[in-house]
């Protein structure tokens, strides 16, 4: 026993260790609180204002009660659709190029460019599209869609690349060994084989741009009514929330919370389903 007698200072070291464990645990608990607080407040304040009118009516005049954000929801849908239309195939193309063809220095340059594009603050993308589209053609759904597309491309590209990289080289060789041209091996065998993963990346990119506000402020701008065409200023849910939130009218603030609720539920829904999807696939992979 005497041999194992604790040395001098051991008790202090142990105490310090225990204390730090508590500190770390406190950090983890504290770190998970914001999410709970935010979702709680959004639920609590938003649920009260969600009703049929909210989804079917357009905003009433300032200070009046009632009305809804139908125009903004439709507008957001249109903007996301426009962005996806070109952003998804383009992003996938870049991702496929990076994983299937690109090696060495050019690959590093391209990957760097994709990363940089992903890190450009979204408000700067807004300025770019303002100069490119809005200055000559005016505020429009097209402009907003292009801004969101630019944000979407690098996200889709990187996720596509990462997913395709998981497929081992001998699978591609098996395709080539069947006498199938490379482009068909990629497009008809490799890509369909990873459709779940690629779809996940695409869904997350959609979730990401669905909540974007800054790049829309001066591209699709906003509209208190239904837009009459794609070349018109168009309302979107995030911009509508912003407008309502800083209006100072209580009813509009209520509706801002309701809008936030819709947005949060949409984003969480996508995140949860994609997680579940990946989790299931992971489990199956282990069993197989």
């Amino acid at each position: 026993m005497a041999v194992f007698r604790p040395a001098v200072g051991d008790r202090r070291r142990k105490f310090k260790s225990h204390l730090m464990m508590l500190v770390l645990m406190a950090a983890a608990v504290l770190g998970s609180l914001p999410f709970l607080f935010i979702t709680w407040y959004v639920l609590q304040k938003g649920l009260g204002a969600v009703n049929w009118d909210f989804f079917t009516q357009i905003p009433k005049g300032p200070g009046e009660t009632g009305g809804g954000v139908a125009n903004a929801i439709i507008g957001s849908g249109v903007l996301i659709f426009l962005a996806s239309l070109s952003g998804i195939p383009w992003g996938m193309g870049v991702g496929i190029y990076l994983s299937e063809y690109s090696t060495g220095r050019t690959a590093r340059i391209l990957r760097f460019a994709v990363d940089l594009l992903a890190s450009v603050p979204s408000i700067v993308v807004g300025i770019f599209v303002y100069g490119l589209i809005v200055v000559p053609f005016g505020f429009s759904a097209y402009a907003g869609g292009i801004a969101l597309m630019i944000i979407m491309i690098p996200v889709v590209a990187r996720s596509t690349e990462e997913i395709l990289r998981l497929i081992p080289a001998h699978i591609r060789e098996a395709g080539l060994a069947l006498g199938v041209p490379r482009w068909k091996v990629i497009l008809r065998i490799i890509v369909p084989g990873s459709r779940a993963g690629i779809l996940t990346g695409v869904m997350l990119a959609i979730a990401r741009v669905a909540g974007e506000t800054a790049p829309l402020l001066f591209t699709s701008f906003g509209n208190q009514f239904h837009a009459r065409g794609l070349n018109q200023a168009t309302a979107s849910l995030p911009v509508q929330i912003y407008t309502f939130a800083k209006s100072g009218f209580e009813d509009w603030e209520q509706q801002a919370w309701a809008g936030a609720l819709v947005l949060v539920l949409f984003v969480l829904f996508i995140n949860l389903t994609t997680r579940l999807l990946m989790h299931q696939r992971g489990a199956k992979g282990h069993a197989g």
Binding site: T103, H170, A174, L178, G179, V180, R188, I189
Partner: protein
């Protein structure tokens, strides 16, 4: 000279049935000289086993025969390979078309992920331009029967190929290769990742297959080579040391190195 004539006749006959001829083939990975001047001819309907210690270039050798070697960055080939008299490294030779004639089964079972059992077998035909449902059904069934897998999977053709066991997956890969009806099939240690029962099944399969297909099989397992093959080629450090009838190689090898390897003194 009748004897001479006879020899010549025999040579011509052999030439007619010669499906694959490799002449002075060299292959590199970057600076590494993996295959050094290998020449060998294979007659139609034979099973040729390629044996030798790991890293001796036998896998690289067969990957040169369907031009898959060049898929590796920095890889290089030199020499002449003819299949059915056609030079596959000749000017204008199309690797995609060549690969339709030369099927391949890999070391690890590698069914296409995300594709069903049916799709795995049908995909070569489909992407080759055959879209008629009845033809596809027919060919898939034929290939699966040939690979001795039909009875086990006929009720679950829609399930993913990766849901099968390892041995079944490998037979699925064989069926996938057979579906496009290539006259030659290359097998790169097709049973090294499998259990003994699955291995025996695939060896049985080879006996059936050689009626219609010429097979080159790389193997580490000398018993396997002696069981399945008509001819055996022994590789060492990228060179072809000896090539001859399997019975002769295993009972009475001409070169001392071959004997040493076969009796297990190295490798």
């Amino acid at each position: 000279m009748p004897a001479d004539n006879f020899e010549r006749e025999k040579a011509i006959v052999n030439l007619q049935h010669e499906i694959l001829n490799v002449d002075n083939l060299h292959a590199w990975f970057g600076d590494f000289h993996a295959v050094k001047g290998v020449s060998l001819a294979v007659q139609q309907g034979q099973v040729v086993a390629l044996i030798g210690p790991s890293g001796c270039g036998k896998s690289t050798f067969i990957r040169c025969i369907n031009r898959l070697h060049e898929e590796v960055p920095g890889a290089r080939v030199q020499g002449r390979v003819t299949i059915g008299g056609q030079d596959i490294y000749g000017r204008g030779a199309d690797p995609v078309r060549i690969r339709r004639y030369v099927g391949m089964v890999f070391q690890k079972p590698n069914p296409f992920p995300g594709l069903s059992i049916f799709e795995n077998v049908a995909v070569g035909l489909k992407l080759g331009g055959i879209s008629k449902r009845t033809v596809l059904d027919e060919q898939v069934e034929r290939a699966l029967r040939q690979a001795a897998l039909w009875e086990e999977v006929k009720d679950k053709l829609r399930q993913p190929g990766t849901s099968l066991s390892g041995g079944q997956q490998q037979r699925l890969c064989i069926a996938r290769a057979l579906a496009v009806e290539p006259p030659v099939i290359l097998m790169d240690e097709p049973t090294s990742a499998l259990d003994p029962i699955s291995t025996a099944k695939i060896e049985d399969l080879l006996h059936e297959l050689k009626k219609s297909v010429t097979i080159l099989i790389v193997t580490h397992n000398m018993q396997q080579a002696s069981r399945v093959s008509d001819k055996t080629a022994f590789f060492l450090l990228g060179e072809l040391i000896e090539y001859g009838e399997t019975s002769q190689i295993f009972t009475n090898p001409a070169r001392p190195k071959t004997e040493e390897y076969i009796t297990g003194r190295f490798g």
